[in-house]
């Protein structure tokens, strides 16, 4: 078994005077300082663009490239005719550890499709981005590749996505009118899987 005792030298006299180490520290920070300063100036002059002056991505203007596997906000894939590919099998709702997906399934007029989501809501305020829903979808209907990073909201309600926003990632609340080509419950506030009879009784029926 290879055990390596970490080297622990006592400080030399010079090092004990603080100064050499301060100077070598200053050397490193100054190196960064002057290199970056010069590069910043050069960039202003339009030179040396291939060298980065800072590692910062100036986010809203200069997005950081996302990895292809990165799990960003969900979207529902859409068939050519504008209906969701989702058939409401509810596997994602089942597997979701955060219970943030709510699906209400209905009878599709085409017996070959049979079933479709009347409601499909995701509460982003609960979602933990584990990607299980994508993994278990047997229809390639839900994906987390929208690349949308703009999810902050002013209220809880705003974090709930309904089928409009999921099918059309570009869409943002408030959704003005519903123009989906299939009958569905258009609850712009989204839903939640956990409910109770109290909720029904309190006038939501």
């Amino acid at each position: 078994m290879a055990v390596k005792v970490v080297r622990r030298r006592e400080l030399t006299f010079w090092e004990k005077l603080y100064i050499p180490q301060i100077l070598s520290g200053l050397k490193i920070t100054s190196k960064h300082f002057f290199r970056n300063l010069l590069l910043h100036i050069a960039h202003r002059l339009g030179l040396l663009k291939h060298l980065r002056a800072s590692v910062t991505y100036q986010y809203p203007e200069e997005p950081r490239p996302l990895m292809s596997r990165f799990r960003s906000r969900h979207r529902l894939t859409v068939r050519d005719e504008g209906t969701p590919r989702c058939v409401g099998c509810m596997l994602c709702e089942t597997v979701c550890p955060a219970k943030c997906i709510t699906i209400l399934a209905g009878e599709h007029p085409d017996p070959n499709v049979e079933k479709y989501p009347v409601r499909f809501d995701i509460d982003l305020g609960v979602c933990v981005y584990c990607g299980y829903c994508v993994e278990v979808c047997p229809e390639d209907a839900i994906r987390m590749d929208s690349g949308i990073l703009d999810v902050a909201a002013y209220s809880r309600e705003e974090m709930k996505l309904d089928i409009h926003e999921l099918m059309n990632p570009a869409l943002r609340k408030p959704v003005g009118e519903c123009n989906l080509p299939f009958p569905h419950q258009c609850r712009l506030t989204g839903g939640q899987i956990k409910g109770s009879w109290e909720e029904v009784a309190s006038g939501r029926r």
Binding site: I19, I22, G25, L26, I28, T29, S30, H32, F33, N36, L37, H40, S54, V55, T56, Q58
Partner: protein, 362 residues
Amino acid sequence: MIDVAIKLGLAMVVFFGVLNLAGLHTWIERKQSAIIQDRIGANRASIFGFKLLGLFHPLADAVKMFTKEDIIPARGDKVLHTLAPAFSVFFALAAFAAIPFGDRLMLGGRVIELQVAKLDVALLYIFAMLSLGVYGVILAGFASRNNYALLGGLRATAQMISYEIALGIAIIGLILVYQTLDLQDLVRAQGKLLGGWIPLWGIVVQPVAFFVFVTAALAETKRIPFDLPEGESEIIGYFVEYSGMKFGMFFLTDFLETIMVACLAATLFFGGWQVPYLMPDGFHFPWGGSFAVSHWTYVLMGVASFSLKVLFFCWLFMQLRWTLPRFRYDQLMKLGWLGLFPVAVANVVVTASVLYWLGGRN
């Protein structure tokens, strides 16, 4: 009457110059740290579409602090709590009065010393002001009725007292050499050339004192590596209970003190407004060349030289601040009493001996 006006004018110039420099200093600090750390730093605040590399952020900070609610802790001492930051800022500002930032300016037959208050004992005055500044900190710590603030205040006191001594003793060597307490005279004395080549700056004749001075003075400013009274991650700071502009004043004091120390370092050890080989009538290079300049140019070059030196020290302190970790309290004390103090004393003794020896020979 005109003298008074001129003095007032000078005072205003210094006052505004220093305050703006302090404001700018926050911007420099942010930008400099950003550049050291491969970042960009504040750059978003814009006025009418101009961003100017984020120069408006300090302005935003100031406006915001002025409009922020002022909280005095329920159990704190209201009067002292309010007095403390004012104390701090006042004394930090007052010290600048004695800093000469240029040679005398001849204007319409008047001789204007570019120094707000021409004092014979300017050095003592400055140290007095700096020492009084600590009362602000102590009061803040005391008035807040908060353990952390109290600890911060106590630490500040101890630290200030310890380092003031080293600071004072370090300067004594300088005083011995230049034989004056008047800063303007001290600067002028640094205009001489040693062997015709090397300017007789403080750093040349008193290198040890310089290191002691810079270290002790940094400790006075309570900045990393000596920021124990406000060590954020340890005890948050003596101003933990301050909000709004009162906190802003402490913040400002910090920067004022840094500038003060930079001014002192430049004045005492780097020839103040002196430009090497520049005499009132122009350059006289040791290799024989000479180059005449007008009086105005001479004075302005002096002011510029002083400003540059101050800025350099500001930069250096900043660079140090972003390079070093923080001391521990007892280590700091040890460094002060067992490191700097003996060295400073030794320096005085050696200087005195050398001077005596030199004097004896002369």
